[in-house]
């Protein structure tokens, strides 16, 4: 076990959660709760993998994955924004729909070897002791993009005019409408952004972090973990990124615990009996619940950390909230 390796791997797997969670933050900040992240991610993973195989370009795969996730999310948008359906039920159906589409279209992709996203080093920064090799060496472009994307997303939401409109639509849609902000249009836009980022996160799994197409095992619940992260992060991109990285590191640490025959001078039970690893597999999910409890208590204390119009359809001409 080596800290640099754990940090390195945690950053890579954490970036997947970062993109998915920040995407969901955009959607939720506009008032649209999209629980279909798992479905969009799985569709993105399949599309990225399949298109990379078909075209020979991993980046075309990534683009199509984003498009696929975005288009799928528009189904949720249509049903919840215009048909005013319950966002929870619609999000669940989106999970089914995305999973089903990915499984049907991804038939036969298992075992194929498309071109993957390449890893490279960033000169100079990579020479920083300990952190350099973990943060700036042997990562794909998307990991480095994640470093820039997080502050940009925060800045966009909190400091720019379009970001103000986004927040207004999620907090007080009726007031935003009065001021001439296109509530429906913006909600569609940010639902799409959320879907595209979930698709990107999926493609990052299948083309970079743990390459391959293993049907539903490809994402194995990471979309749901991303949704929990949003609550844990209280809709703040920085906290979402931090949570994602920490989560990624824990996943790697859990894997590494099985290696050594002794731990802290004691015989390692995981080394003796590999069946104990089932308890390790549970750990991320248990941690998600714990993170969620922490996040929920913080939200409860602050009284309304969530966008106040989250989950509520906006109906023009009716008394808004």
């Amino acid at each position: 076990m080596n800290f640099t390796i754990i940090l390195h791997s945690g950053i890579a797997t954490g970036t997947v959660l970062l993109f998915a969670a920040i995407g969901e933050i955009f959607a939720e900040r506009s008032g649209i709760l999209n629980l279909g992240v798992e479905g969009m991610m799985l569709l993105g993973a399949m599309a990225g993998f399949g298109i990379s195989l078909a075209t020979g370009s991993a980046w075309v795969g990534v683009l199509v994955a984003m498009l696929a996730g975005g288009v799928l999310s528009l189904a949720h948008g249509l049903v919840t924004i215009h048909f005013q359906a319950d966002q929870v039920v619609s999000g669940l159906s989106l999970t089914f729909l995305g999973t089903g589409l990915a499984l049907v279209l991804g038939e036969g992709l298992t075992g194929q070897t498309p071109p993957l996203l390449v890893d490279f080093n960033i000169p100079l920064l990579g020479a920083i002791p300990v952190l350099g090799p973990a943060l700036f060496m042997n990562h794909g472009l998307l990991v480095y993009a994640g470093y820039l994307f997080t502050p940009l997303a925060w800045f966009y939401i909190n400091k720019t005019r379009p970001g103000m409109h986004l927040r207004a639509v999620g907090e007080k849609p009726a007031a935003a409408d009065t001021l001439g902000v296109n509530v429906y249009g913006l909600r569609y836009l940010y639902t799409f952004v959320g879907g595209a980022l979930a698709g990107l996160a999926g493609a990052m799994i299948s083309l970079s972090v743990s390459p391959g197409w293993y049907s539903t095992q490809t994402t194995s619940g990471q979309g749901w973990i991303a949704i929990a992260l949003v609550i844990f992060a209280q809709w703040n991109p920085f906290r979402a990124a931090l949570g994602g990285y920490l989560f990624g590191m824990l996943r790697r640490l859990i894997l590494d615990l099985q290696g050594p025959s002794t731990l802290l001078g004691f015989a390692n039970p995981l080394y003796i009996n590999s069946n104990y690893s089932f308890f390790l597999i549970m750990t991320p999910y248990i941690l998600t619940i714990i993170a969620l409890i922490i996040g929920s208590r913080a939200v409860a204390r602050k009284k309304g950390g969530s966008p106040s119009a989250l989950g509520i359809p906006y109906i023009r001409g009716e008394r808004g909230r």
């Binding site: 629980l35 479905g39 189904a75 249509l78 049903v79 215009h82 048909f83 005013q84 359906a85 319950d86 929870v88 039920v89 619609s90 669940l92 159906s93 989106l94 999970t95 089914f96 729909l97 995305g98 999973t99 089903g100 589409l101 990915a102 499984l103 049907v104 279209l105 991804g106 038939e107 049907s215 619940g221 749901w224 949704i227 929990a228 609550i231 009996n273 069946n275 104990y276 089932f278 308890f279 597999i281 549970m282 999910y285 248990i286 998600t288 619940i289 969620l292 409890i293 929920s296 208590r297 939200v299 409860a300």
Partner: protein, 364 residues
């Protein structure tokens, strides 16, 4: 003359409309699914014929469909109770596995003496199955009621946790000669099947339908009664329709959230018990092809009505049975997703109507 469409809010909903939209969305979903199937190079009509034969072809296959419908009925009712209170229990899958684990404890520990009569063994399995399911439902219920923790994510995370918990016991402690399953249970732990009476009634030969289906029907009656006649059912519905009103009415919301989640979990656990006692006869991996998730669609399609859940479950059991044969295997999953989407979209027709207005005026 010009024609204009005007969308208006409905004041009252005609009685036939909810049924019509439900049936309509299933038909539309099948058409869309067929179209998709055609696009990827399948033959939808052939598949439909195949579907019909694989599901309702003769008594033996229909009984197989009913065996698959059994857990759907019980879990469908389980999630419907929670949904009535707007509690999104999507952890029925895990609660089902927890129930299977609890029932296995009775046989494998064993919790009852070897010489106990069959009804004691089965009764104890039902109690332990429901207890373990109830615990799996209680945890998210408690967290929701006390700390406002989102139950969707906790129930879902518990699915993964419980399935891995079961796997540990299956692979390690209870493994039968290193296989990834426990030893077959003693016949005393088997729910009676129609086939058991083949000697008296030859027509039952090979019919695998087991007593579990009766659990589903009894559960439907009980839950129907709860919502129709009991104060508790009224409180649940009131909170589901209007949480503010429920609060003003002095309803103990914390207690009800926990109770409803535990009750929902207990029923899903009972389904897990019925599955291993009536079908698998041991604990093993993958005892469910996603019953806990399919049951969500079933409950929603049935508009959370306990008695409607029964026929809808049979239809979806057919999808599961056919899904095993039809390739690619994700197709039945996709179809379920489309059905649910069509259904919630069609609900807009219950809220709004489109009026066609003809105006007899000259075009200027």
């Amino acid at each position: 003359m010009s024609i204009r469409f005007k969308v208006e809010k409905r004041v009252d909903v005609p009685k036939w409309l909810p049924l019509a939209t439900s049936v309509g969305s299933v038909i539309l979903a099948f058409l869309l699914g067929g179209l998709l199937f055609k696009i990827i190079g399948g033959e939808p009509l052939k598949a439909l014929k195949f579907f019909y034969r694989a599901v309702f072809g003769n008594w033996a296959v229909f009984s197989d469909t009913m065996v698959k419908a059994t857990p759907l009925i019980i879990i469908g009712i389980a999630v419907a109770i929670a949904f009535k209170m707007r509690l999104w229990n999507i952890g029925a899958e895990g609660q089902f596995y927890a129930g299977a684990f609890g029932a296995s404890l009775v046989v494998l520990v064993p919790l009852v003496p070897e010489s106990s009569p069959k009804f004691v063994v089965i009764g104890m399995m039902m109690i332990m199955g429901m207890l373990c399911g109830a615990i799996a439902g209680f945890i998210p219920g408690y967290l929701k009621a006390k700390y406002k923790v989102n139950e969707i994510i906790t129930t879902l995370m518990l699915n993964y946790i419980i399935i891995n918990w079961n796997n540990f016991w299956i692979f390690d402690q209870w493994s039968d000669r290193g296989f990834q399953m426990t030893a077959t249970f003693d016949r005393k732990a088997w729910l009676p099947r129609l086939a058991d009476y083949a000697r008296e009634i030859p027509a039952f030969s090979g019919v695998t339908l087991h007593l579990g289906v009766l659990f589903g029907i009894v559960a439907a009656v009980i839950v129907w009664w709860i919502f129709k006649h009991s104060r508790w059912g009224y409180e649940i519905k009131l909170y589901g329709d209007n949480p503010e009103a429920a609060r003003y009415a002095g309803i103990d919301i914390t207690r009800n959230i926990i109770l409803v989640m535990a009750f929902s979990g207990a029923l899903a656990g009972l389904a897990g018990m019925a599955e291993i006692s009536g079908v698998v006869h041991r604990l093993q991996e993958s005892i469910s092809p996603g019953y806990g998730f399919t049951a969500i669609i079933v409950a929603w399609l049935a508009k959370l009505e306990p008695f409607v859940i029964i026929p809808v479950s049979i239809l979806f059991a057919g999808l599961i049975v056919a899904g095993r044969e039809i390739q690619p295997s994700g197709l039945s999953f996709l179809l379920q997703g489309i059905i649910l989407f069509m259904l919630i979209s069609s609900d807009v027709l219950l809220r709004y109507k489109v009026r066609i207005i003809r105006t007899e005026q000259e075009q200027v």
